[in-house]
Symmetry: C2
Subunit: 421 residues, 2 copies
């Protein structure tokens, strides 16, 4: 009999299920303290606004027809216009021709990679990097290059040849760190000198808890070139972290020529994003995105502060962590002689605390890079401060246990400074 | 200055916007008679059921949280279970492990191609073929092979080497034709002899207006092999034609091993389909998919009959067309000396009737195949019988005009028989 399986053993070989997504299947296991997955907190989703928006759409026959019929591949024009106005407010003047709607920003990353990468092409990424971006890129079989952490090492002669560089300038997943304005300008210089595109993941941009907003790469590039249609930046955005993830509405902003190509890819992939969901989203953001963002910021700021406090209290010496100005994540580095995968396994098995070992955020072939073996990601987004504190205390105990030389809960928190500091 | 555009001039070069999707932008131009686009009729969408389902979800705090939080990549389990039961009822026993939810069946076609095709691989298709499938496959740069129209030519020694063969056994887009049971069995034989997979597009299967249902390739393969996990068939389904397109919910059914690989692709592409939309859909189909299908069948059967009658009345001799047993399309062949692209242009410009010239449904490099230059697709789905009749009368006039030898409206309808006849 034919071995059908051999047929399917092609492109996705070696791609493993995302640890995070697999972990989501555990969400019902209510005994666990989840410090791993970076899901937004469903307690603050705008249920009432969405319920009202649904009712309003169904009550209007014309809207209801639009909501259920195939939508244009580029997205629902009034939502694209709203996003274009918001991007302009944030420093990147553009029109609806510069905006394509996607199913969350994840789909934008997939389509950008599909447009730009052929097998063996080079893709530059920060390391560690958002796991979903790596999985999206993996499918097109690039060779990865690391964007050096220190911007003094961003020299065109050593970093040429990549099709694009993918970065998360604000509170990026998984480290929570932020690029300074000077770093952003230096990265734009590097892109211009090497001829690569910049893929800017803006998904946490609105969730800033401290300090002043820093212009996005897209905004800075528009300022340099005078026109969004001449910039080397593609910016992905989403409502998943500010409204709700499962409406699956995000966008790509960039030069109109590139957006048109991405629309063809969208058309060939799933025709269009749900018109109903885009219309719901538009009603909600028109009536109160700023309020939703403010609520998110209040909620997550408090949880971040509480988690940082618990870390200071619980962690032994020689453990360091980032202090994010926004977003949902803290990145912890254990001493180099502690294996973070083992640490995560023991945290789960012995202490019912879920964290994500850092290796998941490294592309294939980078296992010798700093942090690969001894770091992990915490998220403070999903559970209340008290429960998170309990989780941190438990893994603090575990850290001390795995580090026999450390003697007490008192610690000199060897803080890995945020890069914006 | 760097020429950023050269960066983007890679994978999608030569891929043009779908004529159909571009045409959708004209939907507001109410003077046109649209016989081109195959959109389902929004007059029969189940608005009330969806409105009730929305209200019920928002009214239940637990359901509402599930509806808005990230869903599993494989889909909402209760909907997968409902689909598995439906597939079993239709002759293909399976479990939820055999079902993955996609954004319409289009996304299933994209992901199957992404799993199976590397540049230069061979993909076999019926010619003409669904334009959306061709665009999905194009992105992975296959070489196309034609599945011969006559099943007596389905010989393994002449047709080996393809990764898969994509077919629409029931009332396929664009021809409206249906594979006989004997043809389906012969195609399964061919797949087994050549070791290729079969990709079965089941999107019109439920919309049968005449005759008895014929088992799907998936059902026949399960019967042969005794177990869905051993079959060479991947089946794509959708609720776009039976409930509403813009919920963007479809599925792939197949062996669990393959479904798992497709789930990884889904995860890397857009994480998951909207949980809210899947929950809405489940409520609607639980309460009345059969009624919705029956309404669709009544509506479209009448329009098909009316359009066939108008064709008999309006078309001059030497024009032939298919007589579909279901679906949304009729395929018309003009005499070989009439250029269908010109015909379509003149129909639009001079008679305000929109049709789709057949060439759009042929993959690149097949311009010498029969029908490429002289055929077009009609759809009877979107507008009422009287308006469609008016459109057919107008293009009948045009056909006579372009064919000076024809003398009257009387015609001997040179019917291209349906393949199930």
């Amino acid at each position: 009999m034919t071995d059908w399986n051999s047929l399917y053993a092609t492109r996705m070989d070696g791609v493993i299920a995302s640890d995070i997504r697999e972990r989501m299947k555990l969400l019902d296991a209510s005994q666990l303290i989840h410090l791993g997955g970076g899901l937004p907190d469903p307690d603050i989703f705008p249920y009432r606004a969405l319920s009202d928006a649904s009712a309003a759409i169904w009550a209007d026959a014309t809207l209801a027809r639009t909501a259920l019929q195939y939508a244009p591949s580029e997205g629902y024009a009034p939502l694209r216009a709203w996003i274009a106005a918001r991007m302009a407010r944030d420093g990147a003047p553009c029109t609806i021709d510069n905006i394509m709607i996607t199913n969350g920003s994840q789909q934008g990353l997939d389509f950008i990679a599909k447009l730009l990468l052929s097998p063996g092409d080079k893709a530059m990424v920060e390391i560690p990097s958002f796991i979903g971006a790596l999985r999206a890129f993996d499918a097109y079989q690039p060779d990865y290059m690391a964007l050096p952490q220190d911007s003094r090492d961003w020299q065109a002669d050593r970093l040429s040849g990549a099709k694009f560089c993918y970065v998360g300038p604000d509170f990026r997943n998984p480290t929570g760190t932020t690029m300074t304005l000077a770093e952003r300008e230096a990265l734009l210089d590097l892109a211009e000198e090497t001829g690569m595109a910049l893929v800017e993941d803006g998904c946490y941009q609105a969730l800033r808890y401290d300090g002043e907003p820093i212009s996005s790469l897209l905004a800075l590039a528009v300022r340099r070139h005078g026109d969004i249609n001449r910039v080397p930046v593609l910016h992905t955005g989403t409502f998943s972290k500010t409204v709700a993830p499962s409406l699956r509405v995000g966008w790509v902003a960039g030069p109109a020529d590139v957006i048109r190509k991405l629309v063809l890819i969208k058309q060939a992939s799933d025709l269009a994003t749900s018109a109903f969901n885009q219309m719901l989203l538009l009603r909600v953001v028109e009536q109160g995105l700023d309020a939703a963002v403010a609520l998110g910021c209040r909620t997550y700021r408090e949880r971040r502060d509480s988690m940082l406090e618990a870390l200071r209290e619980a962690m032994p010496e020689r453990v360091g962590w980032t202090r994010p100005d926004g977003g949902l994540y803290i990145w912890v580095e254990l001493p180099e002689d502690i294996d973070a995968s083992l640490f995560a396994q023991r945290a789960l098995a012995e202490h019912s605390v879920s964290i994500i070992a850092g290796a998941a955020f490294f592309p294939a072939g980078t296992q010798d890079m700093p942090g690969y073996r001894n770091s992990f990601r915490l998220s403070f987004s999903m559970i209340d401060a008290q429960r998170a504190r309990e989780g941190i205390l438990r893994i603090g105990d575990l850290a001390r246990q795995m580090m026999p030389s450390a003697k007490s809960r008192q610690s000199v928190a060897a803080v890995t400074t945020t890069s914006s500091a």
